[in-house]
């Protein structure tokens, strides 16, 4: 007969307010097998855990059910506590009274009854639990960082400085990300490239960092400490070892009128190009869509001009498979385009631009060398309107969340404009000013007070063109909603921050969760913000949610610390939630009949064929065997098995049916 203890937690008011915990604890005493049932204000606290440990010893419990929050939250905590008290940690289960009961139902008998039911089910499960032992696996001490923006660079440098190898994968031809496009950064107004490019060079020259630019992650297999990552190295059409980065090919390329992505379409580039002069690595790529040779079969000027004969028109994409111990995602964000706004002219007006385009206009390395010129006719704009929350906090047409960085960069843009055009007028339409951060509000106040930027609280309903001017029709809600009409020369939309293109696809490749906007999901919003729910995969920066540079860098260092911590172990312990094929004494050997349907069902190729041989060496039968190092414990093979020869430890047939029988 089992000796099971039930520990019901009030979680302060979180459970106690809707579930009658005292009554639940009383009800649980009547469940067969339960010898001890108590409730406590905070089970997870030190006295709470100690109470449980003492009860385990005093009542010689052989199984424990903790009725508290989600097992996804505190299962490791209570299993560790149970283990310390001398029972097998896997004899501890959690009933989810908080997320699945008290928080989602009204106070009443039905809710209390449900709480007791949830516990009863888990008590039945624990009765059928088997002591399990964690599986030890080796660690490959090489990290992969996906995304070479400021976040990815920081992660790579921190891990590399910790003494471990890092592979930094970037999809575009150069590392640097969005930060390399910025002119100056808030709240200090220091030049973005001046602080970033040394970091880029440091990453490229670090002996522990391998850069893989113009590369994308194609496939990820394996698990924490032992990932196998396949990376597609896109063909640059160039031998990187021979190329010296002299730039002669770029000068001579006849195709010069291609819209430049780095300058957000405000400038032009050639078909063989380096995204920007400070690119790392400073090696060109050939843009296959626009290269004359790939379009017409004739040209090859770059090949003829190259002094080191580095051009390779026959180069193909290359697939490289790497052994990786931990992965950090730092894939960043994208900005909503101006064509998403019908009321602002669907992006048809050249002088209605987004924030990143303004950055390029203001940047000394930009298409205008930092001189304020509007895109349509190159004239200096005398009046500029900035519209914050373009698409953000807009449930109807945009995204419901706050993009977080726009208030600050809009203040910065208005300031930069006023610094460049002293006589100019800058207006900002805003909903609220959200300037939480060190020196942030002071910065916005400076824009308003010292640089005389006019802040108007209200939305803009329409912009149209008339006599070479953009007529901005808005309202001032602090003046009782009075209409405001401004004749502007240029309009800058602070468009919403969105998850990057194909981030959902990447999440699916890596098996990490993502939210409905395509941002990657953290394991816990407060306590595990840099981890994903997939062990060994971490997050940094705006791929998780809109973030500014200081936050991205801080999170990047956090993720790096997690990786270095992981790599400080000689071997990792894994949950023993794996499938097992039963074995019995001769002459039965197993109920497995060797149909190997399970092999086809297994997503991890964890099922092997094992030959049972007689002493003569003759093969008696071939049975399935599961490699516990590869098995991830999904249990698909268990449901596939026709003879029920496979069972999943921790979620065995016996356990699940025991749960069902008590419902």
């Amino acid at each position: 007969m089992s000796r099971i203890g039930v520990f019901t937690c009030h979680c302060g008011e979180n459970i106690g307010a809707t579930v009658d915990c005292v009554k639940v604890a009383e009800m649980c005493k009547d469940i067969p097998g339960v010898v001890h049932s108590v409730e406590y204000k905070y089970m997870c606290s030190d006295p709470g855990q100690r109470q449980m440990q003492e009860a385990i010893k005093e009542h010689q419990l052989d199984g424990v059910v903790v009725a508290a929050c989600s097992p996804r939250m505190h299962e490791p905590t209570f299993r560790r506590a149970a283990g310390d008290a001398g029972i097998n940690p896997y004899m501890c289960e959690m009933a989810n009274l908080r997320e699945h009961c008290s928080w989602v139902h009204e106070k009443g008998d039905a809710t209390t009854q449900k709480a007791a039911d949830l516990i009863r089910v888990l008590v039945e499960k624990v009765k059928h639990n088997e002591p399990l032992h964690p599986i030890k696996v080796p660690v490959t001490r090489t990290a992969m960082v996906i995304g070479g923006g400021v976040g990815g660079i920081q992660v790579a440098l921190d891990i590399a400085n910790g003494g471990h190898k890092v592979v930094l994968v970037e999809k575009s031809p150069s590392i640097g990300g969005h930060m390399s496009q910025l002119s100056e950064t808030f709240p200090t107004l220091d030049c973005s490239q001046c602080i970033l490019t040394p970091r880029m060079v440091e990453a490229a020259q670090h002996p522990n960092i391998t850069l893989m630019t113009y590369s994308e992650v194609e496939k990820v297999d394996g698990f924490i400490g032992n990932f196998k990552v396949t990376v597609r190295k896109k063909a640059r059409k160039l031998d990187e070892k021979l190329c010296t980065g002299c730039g002669l090919c770029i000068q001579k390329c006849p195709n010069k009128k291609i819209s430049d992505e780095f300058n957000e379409g405000l400038g032009t580039r050639t078909a063989i190009y380096v995204p920007f002069p400070q690119a790392v690595p400073n090696k060109p790529v050939i843009d296959l869509q626009n290269c004359t040779y790939y379009k017409t079969g004739k040209c090859k000027v770059c090949e003829k001009m190259c002094p080191t004969n580095a051009i390779r028109f026959d180069q193909e994409d290359e697939l490289v498979t790497l052994d990786i111990g931990a992965i950090v995602l730092a894939t960043g964000f994208k900005l909503m385009k101006t064509d998403a706004f019908p009321e602002y002219g669907y992006g048809k007006h050249k002088d209605i631009i987004d924030g990143m385009q303004f950055e390029r206009l203001a940047s000394a390395s930009g298409p205008t060398s930092g001189v304020m010129k509007r895109p349509s006719d190159g004239k200096e704009p005398e009046t500029v309107v900035f519209i914050a929350c373009s698409g953000s906090r807009d449930r109807a047409k945009g995204v419901p969340y706050c993009s977080k960085i726009c208030c600050m960069y809009t203040a910065k843009h208005a300031m930069l404009y006023k610094h460049k055009v002293h006589s100019g007028k800058a207006y900002v339409f805003y909903m609220d000013i959200r300037a939480a951060g060190k020196d942030y509000d002071e910065f916005v106040r400076r824009a308003i007070e010292e640089d005389e930027v006019k802040y108007i609280r209200g939305r803009v309903s329409k912009i149209y063109e008339e006599d070479g001017k953009l007529i901005v029709m808005g309202a001032d809600t602090l003046m009782g909603g009075e209409p405001v009409v401004i004749k502007a020369d240029m309009v800058v939309l602070a468009t919403a921050v969105q998850s990057n293109d194909r981030s959902e696809e990447l999440a699916q490749t890596l098996h990490v969760s993502y939210d409905s906007y395509g941002f990657f999901a953290e394991a816990h919003p407060k306590l595990r913000p840099v981890e994903t729910n997939t062990a060994g995969i971490f997050l940094a920066g705006a791929c998780q949610a809109p973030r500014d540079i200081p936050e991205t860098v801080a999170q990047a260092s956090g993720a790096a610390a997690k990786v270095v911590g992981l790599f400080s172990n000689d071997e990792l312990t894994r949950e023993p939630i794996v499938a097992v094929v039963n074995r019995q004494a001769a002459p039965v050997y197993s109920t497995c009949v060797g149909c190997f349907l399970c092999q086809g069902a297994c997503p991890y190729q964890a099922i092997e064929q094992e030959e049972i041989k007689a002493r003569s060496g003759e093969v008696i039968m071939t049975l399935a065997r599961i490699n516990p190092g590869l098995c991830q414990g999904c249990g698909t093979c268990v449901a596939t098995c026709r003879t029920k020869a496979i069972d999943l430890q921790g979620f065995s047939n016996e356990q699940i049916y025991a749960e069902l029988m008590t419902l």
Binding site: S70, P71, R72, M73, N96, R98, E99, H100, C101, W103, V104, H105, E106, A110, T111, K114, D117, L118, V121, A507, Q508, H511, S513, Y514, D515, S516, A521, P525, N533, T534, I577, A601, P603, Y604, Q632, G633, C634, G635, T636, V638, A639, T640, L648, F651, N653, I656, Y657, E659, L660, M661, L663
Partner: protein, 145 residues
């Protein structure tokens, strides 16, 4: 029929998507009806549909099976196996005369807290309207016991 019939609903959910989604429902404090009892499995691929029948046999009036959306499976393809089995199971149950309004197959991701509440409410209302599933227990019970 009992005047105030409250159905018993059993939900088989995967650990990574729907269980996490139901956790999010809680974190978001979205209220739903308390008839559902959740059984956590690692993956919908783990679900042997005999379990669904067992649940109905042991007193459930309705069953929910829910996991990750196609492509989102934590284990790459477990949900596809679940879906394939579901197609066969559903056909077979229809032939056998089991009322398929009792069994709901759905996808709820870890981000869809509101969707979980909606699903539970829909299923609970539907099963409440259908009444207790005594019929199933009579047939099965006659065979087994």
């Amino acid at each position: 029929m009992d005047e105030k019939f409250e159905p018993k609903i059993t939900a088989f959910v995967c650990n990574w998507c729907t269980y996490a989604g139901a956790d999010l429902t809680g974190t978001s404090r979205i209220k739903y009806q308390s008839n559902v009892r959740v059984l956590r499995v690692p993956c919908t691929g783990r679900i042997d549909y005999m379990m669904v029948l067992k649940a109905l046999h042991k007193g459930a009036d309705g069953v929910i099976v829910s996991g990750c959306h196609p492509n989102d499976c934590h284990y790459t393809s477990g949900n596809y196996h679940a879906r394939r089995r579901w197609m066969v199971f559903k056909k077979m149950m229809e032939v056998m005369g089991v009322d398929m309004r009792r069994i709901t197959f759905s996808w709820v991701s870890a981000a869809e807290g509101a969707r979980w509440a909606q699903l539970v409410n829909e299923v609970t209302d539907q099963v409440r309207a259908l009444g207790p599933y005594a019929e199933f227990r009579q047939i099965i019970g006659a065979g087994i016991e």
